[in-house]
């Protein structure tokens, strides 16, 4: 049972190390190769496209309230 834990600790160490040496560190090629599997770029694109209508509504509401205050001051 103890051995199992030791083995898995080694496993985690190896996994962590592999993640670093394969996915991090200085890369020579800066541009991303867009292969079919790299859909995450599209994902980001889609996310950016979805503007928060809610925020816009609130901004609009905030703007009109400001106008009210300004008018009241006069």
């Amino acid at each position: 049972m103890q051995d199992n834990v030791i083995d898995q600790s080694k496993d985690i160490t190896i996994l962590e190390l592999l993640d670093r040496v394969l996915n991090k560190g200085v890369i020579l090629t800066g541009d991303l190769v867009i292969s079919v599997a790299d859909i995450d770029l599209i994902y980001l694109g889609v996310k950016l496209m979805l503007s928060s209508v809610e925020t816009m509504e609130q901004l609009k509401a905030g703007k009109s309230r400001k106008k009210e205050y300004e008018e009241a001051d006069i």
Binding site: T13, V36, A37, K47, E54
Partner: protein
């Protein structure tokens, strides 16, 4: 080679090993389109994208509902549309014989899609 690098760990170590392994091994879940699996590969790709968009739209819709600026009628219509979208998605999945797991392609650094 290197000694054990774990400094502190709580929780079931075997589950943790499995989780970490999950997002390291991109091989099995990589989407490859080739002459052999063009059909099912394409369906998987398309449905994953559709499901992604559906989930994003759903998320955005919920934020609006929570925001309290919709009328009751709009809320009901939203519910109807979202529900129908989800049902349609289920139909498509069944038609192409794909499960949720199949569509959950690991997209690299962004981790699990949904």
């Amino acid at each position: 080679m290197s000694e054990n690098k774990i400094l502190f760990c709580t929780g079931p170590i075997d589950e943790i090993t499995e989780e970490i392994g999950k997002f390291n091994s991109k091989e099995e879940s990589k989407l490859t389109l080739g002459p052999k699996n063009a059909d099912s590969g394409l369906a998987k790709l398309v449905l994953t994208l559709v499901e992604l968009i559906r989930k994003l739209v759903e998320k955005q819709a919920m934020r609006r509902v929570d925001g309290g600026t919709l009328t009751e009628d709009e809320i009901e219509r939203l519910g109807e549309t979202l529900m129908n979208l989800e049902l349609k998605m289920e139909e498509l999945k069944k038609y192409f014989n794909l499960t949720d797991r199949d569509l959950n392609i690991n997209l690299g650094p962004l981790g699990d899609l949904m």
